[in-house]
């Protein structure tokens, strides 16, 4: 069963981060990451969202996946980081 989750976090010393996630309690089926942060290049956000599909909703695994995408895409994040994205996803899924 697919469940829709939503969470909003103000990242400490950073920006606002919103996550809209479809999940089954164990893996991410679909995710939208929104907010007033910066990612260079901007196309990188779509790659992070796509890369998180089918990833287990576990902090370490999500961080590892995001870091790998950021590194391989030579992206820079400002106002958010892989940890804050993972934490917000966890909040959206588990409350």
């Amino acid at each position: 069963m697919v469940v829709k989750g939503f969470a909003r976090e103000k990242v400490k010393n950073g920006k606002l981060l919103y996550v809209k996630v479809d999940h089954d309690g164990t893996v991410i089926n679909h995710i939208e990451i929104l907010g007033d942060f910066f990612i260079y290049p901007e196309e990188g956000l779509g790659k992070i969202e796509k890369g998180l599909v089918n990833v287990p909703v576990k902090r370490d695994e999500m961080i590892k996946r995001i870091d790998r995408i950021v590194s391989s895409g030579r992206m820079e994040l400002a106002g958010i980081d892989s940890g804050s994205i993972a934490d917000t996803i966890l909040k959206a899924v588990f409350g």
Binding site: L16, L34, F37, F38, I39, P41, E42, E76, G79
Partner: protein, 238 residues
């Protein structure tokens, strides 16, 4: 003054022309007519903007190519700037490049006797209160940073167009915003033109520069690009 879509399109058209060597690095100051809301490229339009209210008061809304937050651009309440140039003219680090360009704003405000300072990542503050916000993108070796300097602030209109829950439109919330945000008029009797002239000095100090019109190439390209910025597909993409 241009509408929101043309303003965004002119930034992009200039960027393209500078990249190909058809135009020189450009510093631009502008306003928005009609007043408008711009949102960051990673924000949800419906999450941030009361679209019906915008239509009701004749305000445009547009998604920027840059990140950052939703901004209400009051036709008479702010000066917007863009700086468009080769990326290697600025520090490589994101925060340092914001610092460099925000220092132009700070120098411009100092010309009015306003003591402002940089507040990472992308703000300029006076006494801890935000007076200018900026957003930057880098693409194909080009850097574009645009930002606003608040001259006056119509908080009620801003709250009516930006999607903020009703309880936040209480007097308490408005006081809270006034505690976080400030404007040139709180510190100076300068007119909007006076602010504009001070910013020109701040941005051009020590630079070899001249005033120039948009080229035919930039204007024609901007006309095409403005249709994309006007499109539902772009503005509602998130």
């Amino acid at each position: 003054m241009h509408d929101a879509f043309t303003n965004m399109a002119l930034d992009e058209a200039a960027e393209e022309a500078i990249r190909t060597g058809d135009s020189l690095p450009t510093i631009r100051f502008y306003r928005w007519k009609p007043s408008a809301v711009s949102i960051g490229c990673f924000q949800g339009l419906k999450d941030e903007v009361d679209i019906e209210r915008c239509s009701g008061v004749g305000a445009d809304y547009v998604r920027r190519r840059t990140g950052g937050g939703a901004v209400y651009h009051d036709e008479m309440g702010e000066v917007t700037y863009s700086i468009i140039a080769q990326e290697d003219l600025f520090p490589k680090g994101i925060v340092e490049s914001y610092r460099t360009i925000c220092n132009y704003v700070i120098t411009g405000l100092a010309n009015l006797g306003i003591k402002a300072e940089f507040a990472p990542i992308n703000d300029v503050v006076v006494g801890g209160r935000k007076i200018s916000g900026s957003a930057q993108t880098r693409r194909e070796s080009m850097l574009l940073q645009h930002g606003t300097v608040l001259y006056d602030l119509d908080i009620k209109t801003m709250f009516s167009l930006l999607k903020i829950s009703k309880e936040k439109i209480s007097d308490k919330a408005i006081e809270s915003v006034e505690e976080r945000v400030t404007k040139v008029r709180n510190y100076s009797d300068a007119t909007l033109d006076g602010l504009y002239n001070s910013l020109i000095k701040g941005f051009t100090e020590g630079k070899d520069w001249s005033f120039g019109p948009w080229t035919k190439q930039e204007m024609e390209r901007a006309e095409v690009l403005s249709e994309s910025y006007r499109s539902r597909e772009w503005n509602f993409s998130r």
